[in-house]
Symmetry: D2
Subunit: 402 residues, 4 copies
């Protein structure tokens, strides 16, 4: 069995392992075709409609390339380990639901990392333990730590793929990275993934590209606004549903609208995961389209606005007590005919933040020709100096305006 | 008002005209965000999830570039004509429904060209006649014929954009075309769009690229198969709905499942167009996902297969009476436990066809330095000889197989 | 020893074999840095200044990829064979001199294939027989025929690289090919290189791309003109030199200007090859620049014209007896003040020709899923029909005009 | 007159102005075809053989795009000013000689900016004053300051083109910049070029890309080494020539080898500029090739090394007194058989430096939606903080080693 998949980002992706092919064909994985990688970012970047399935395949491909490179450099990686680490990356995001960010704050109060692991375990059960090594790598319980670092660290193939892919589909050249070169420069010393000295500029470029993509794309005002609107919509739909009003939904979405389920519920009630795995972007958007005709004016107004791209405004503030907040609130209440009970649906105040490099997490280490290994922030004359370690926080308000 | 949109294919698309901005913001246009340009082709090419809105904007951009070029060459084009021809291309596909090809053969028996015009007329009514010139160009009733040719001919900007865009998102390099060069080589002689002699190789390349995209992408076996499966599914859902069985659907899809509407109905009953404009990929797929749990075994089986990508097989045949047909039919009936009433859902025989260049339609003309104009098939030593004028027809069967 | 080279066309080229690294470092190979791959084509396409060294490395890289692919498919290729076939492609063009086409018609009357072999043999001598297998593959004397086909056939990696590379550096998108896909589709049956059925459209695209590159680039009128001018210049310089007039030249160029050497001379007099290996684009152009100040009016006029890009005109004709020839000749003689002895330097009549696919040479074969193998022209519904087998011939004249 | 030039970087470059066409056709400009933009960088990046002519045309093209953009935004730019600023950028580097950096430190002790102006003035004389406005803009003596900023500032189109072009030809993705977006974001306020707020991330990316290109490409160890070797070679050739030894050279190179000419000489002796304009890469390399056979062991050894790419080693040091220097010197002297008079040719100590952004020069200013204008280092949360203003200095030694 040998399958070749065209990928405009990496060229061709080849699958040659039967177990991996079985996983890719599984409904739980195929479902990722129906979940957009970048959620609502397509409202700003019309090309950004690529799917989580596509990203998972791309990250799998880069893992294949990284493993080839390490093996050529003499790093011992067995066939089982290679299969395990490839499966770990293939399934790393399988727990994502539709519009995850909005979803996890409203109707499915469980984070996607927990769900990824839960789904992997269910697949492992179905496949009679053949995913055990992959799960050990994913959860960092396998003896070779560097395999986990390839799946999850500040330089994992997940990030290499999503930056390259999101740049490609948005057309934002600021995110273009030299992932080819980074992969060529990887090696392993004392069970730690390190980057050869010659790759240092590519690493700098990668960290800066990620930073720019956050501010220009992932945390773009319009993206923040549309996600917050979806939060308001889902909350309102849930309120109405729980009040017993008829709210159109597919059975899968209805399951979550009708009841708040905790992570405990997911562990004890199989219907939770079953319905979760049946739900995707299509349940959400199809329902939104019916809701725009709902008799509840809040639900219908907000749904129509999101569908037609008549979005709330976002304004960044110097701090959370900026004086203009009160003014804007008054204006909105006036527009809402003085009904300040509506303010909760038409105004949000929040803070968003991003770190270029995090001092705490799985760090990036540079291997010098002398044999010395230094964490990247400790290397002289690099861009990633102390200053860039401080996360940037931006206060903002998101509100209805003509 | 000046809006810049990032497009990974063309770079940046600029909108500077208020009327065009109003049209782009209209719900009837924004709805194209929810209809994939290449329907089910993403089942083969995972990147092919770009939308009809994106293509419409891209074609608009190429029209802008073509008009700039022609004006620089001294061709008279007034500001009104420029706006008109841009609107005509922007809206040329606005009548597409979700998965058009399958849709038009099952539940909406009206073709998208008719609907595009009907929608343009409705928008013209809303906008108090400001689209009249665009409609005249679109329907080839405007005095300057070459403007219509830019919108619809064998070398229109529609084709230039979709080939470039579909190649980009599928990653199929066979479709890459030199649209930049083609646009630079356009001019107008006696109200006819012609290509300067130096552009002849780019035209050859364009026609060949289109031919290869048809066979490698648009008419790929898996694409044919998935479209036929969707046809069977929609037909079955409609049968059950008309028999009075409960069939989950959004109200918009239900409208079309419950009744066959003709083009006449669209003209007389405003609910037809209203529901059509509310329907997109999300209604279809959300319903498919519920249908996979339907008690009707045909509907649930086919829906599950399409969603999980367990597709029918397609086999090309030498002719419509190929001897293997009978064999295959028997095998399917055997697999279906001898129930040959099911054959209609599990077996299709059809023919697909494509022309590299069509002798009849708006032809491609080459302008020589001597002033002579020749139709491309009449030029010596080109690839587009008589032989390539004959449409290629392929007989095929599409059928259930393990 | 592991060397990574940045290549804008293929990404990164890796050299891991000591012998190959030794060859790349050899002065005979480094000299290819000083010979432009596309000779005078930069006069039309300013980016086309890439070198024969770059092409040789690129073809080597594609050979590496092809061998990897075949080995993964279970084709037996030993480490020695792999090294041999890589060396064969690395050195396949090592016999090229500066502006080969013009050179071989004027001062070095030996073709580059003969010289490539002679140089390989000299290197083999230096390296104590370690190139023997490479030479056997290059000359098609090795038992595994398919290795030779990878180096030299109608689908060799030489062509794959030069089309991709020349398109990239000229910016002519007509030559873009899907070499990635072609390589993925290669396999070997009965010691013959074949292409899997799924790759047929990529092969069509490749042949058409090559055809278009010939007419749009390699045989572009301005390229033909500048090459013919260089022929005239070199002939004139040689005449003057043999007459005993002082003609500036580097010692290496002077060696060839001063005497006509035959292939026999190359075989018997080591100074021939030694001077040939010392000569490159720089000898030619540096001399041209001095010749523009020469007292011979023909040599100085032609040299100045070529350097400043004041080129002769090229006109394609219907046949070799076209009536306009006489007219043009009279005009030129008039311009040359009636001195018809100058005509030989200011007027040429010739014919140029190219075949899209040649029925005679190492053919391209398609492997069908049924196991059947067909030559590409025998496959139904492909572009490469009988009509395209006929070489296109173009008669032309090249002449001085204001 | 309308000329279209294929450029793999920007697509197509169009020249529509007769005067500009005349300048492009002038031998002084055509000569730039024979000078590589990146000098010896091709020894590391084999694709980096593009020419100064190509860069000049590319910068001209970006100027055309920037002017179009500004005019669309209502900035007043007359036809004369447009022509002037385009000519200024087209000719901004016309004073470059072959391998400028090495040249200016050895045999032509005049910097290229001075020569560019001198050549422009000569062309202006030939063209009867038609370049006067271009020269005024180039020298910042024209009333509209922003036109000069487009030609020369920290955000000029010169930098936009060379970063894009050098990235393209080297294949170093670290230098890819969003020049399209930057140009779209330019505007003019109070005669100052400013960037709209939305373009801030593109500017950050541009400055970082430039920084990375310096360290990864322009100041790459191998590039430093080869340039220093050329300096030693030219110095040695000049010494021998002045001593009266026969040293092969074209007449143009001989002119500069035989005598030191000052800027004063260039102003008073027309032969200086005349010979300078006749000299390019070909004179240098053709001579090097003969010098490798020279009887002077230093000249022949160094020339052979540079031609065959057997280069000196470069080592970065913590400071100019690093203890390893003495060790290395002793080793070299030992290798040179104790002859420490040779050390000057086989050992160099120097310092190289680069600033990401310079506080002094023509600064980059950001225009906020509020109308406020801030210099980029004064904007909160950007990368270009105080820390990046300090130039990075690297001490190094370059020396002979096996």
């Amino acid at each position: 069995m040998r399958k070749i998949i065209n990928d405009p980002v990496h060229g061709f992706i080849t699958i040659e392992d039967d177990l991996i092919f079985e996983l890719v064909s599984h409904p739980a994985f195929q479902r990722l075709r129906r979940i957009k990688q970048m959620a609502l970012a397509f409202l700003v970047y019309p090309g950004a409609v690529h799917t989580r399935l596509h990203h998972a395949l791309g990250a799998y491909h880069l893992m294949h390339r990284a493993i080839e490179e390490l093996k050529q450099k003499g790093i011992a990686i067995s066939a089982e380990e290679e299969q395990g680490v490839k499966i770990a990356i293939l399934l790393h995001d399988i727990g994502h639901g539709p519009f995850s960010h909005a979803l996890e704050h409203t109707i499915v109060d469980v984070n996607h990392e927990q769900l990824s692991l839960m789904i992997m375990e269910q697949l492992n059960h179905e496949m009679k333990g053949r995913l055990s090594l992959a799960i050990a790598i994913f959860t960092n319980q396998y003896s070779k730590h560097f395999l986990h670092q390839l799946v999850s660290s500040q330089l994992d193939v997940d990030r290499l793929d999503y930056l390259a892919r999101d740049s490609f589909f948005t057309g934002v050249s600021e995110g273009v990275i030299g992932y080819d070169r980074i992969i060529k420069m990887l090696t392993v010393i004392n069970d730690e993934l390190v980057v050869e000295e010659k790759g240092i500029h590519s690493i700098e470029k990668f960290l800066i590209a990620r930073r720019l993509m956050y501010w220009q794309v992932y945390l773009h005002k319009t993206v923040l606004s549309s996600e917050l609107m979806l939060v308001h919509i889902l909350k309102r739909a849930k309120e109405l549903r729980i009040q017993g009003q008829p709210v159109f939904a597919t059975p899968f979405l209805d399951f979550f609208l009708s009841n708040p389920f905790s992570f405990e519920d997911f562990k004890t009630n199989p219907a939770c995961l079953q319905n979760f795995l049946a739900m995707d972007d299509y349940d959400m958007v199809a329902s939104l389209k019916v809701w725009r005709l709902h008799e509840d004016p809040i639900l219908s107004d907000l749904s129509g606005r999101l569908l037609d791209r008549r979005l709330f405004k976002v304004k960044f503030l110097t701090d959370s007590n900026a004086p203009e907040i009160a003014d804007i609130k008054s204006k909105i209440i006036y527009e809402l005919n003085g009904d300040d009970s509506l303010l909760a649906y038409y105004f949000t105040q929040d803070v968003t933040s991003n770190s270029t490099y995090s001092a705490g997490d799985e760090k990036i280490k540079i291997l010098f020709k002398t044999g010395e290994i230094k964490e990247i922030t400790k290397v002289e004359n690099t861009l990633i100096s102390e200053g860039l370690l401080v996360p940037i926080k931006k206060h903002y308000i998101c509100y209805f305006a003509h």
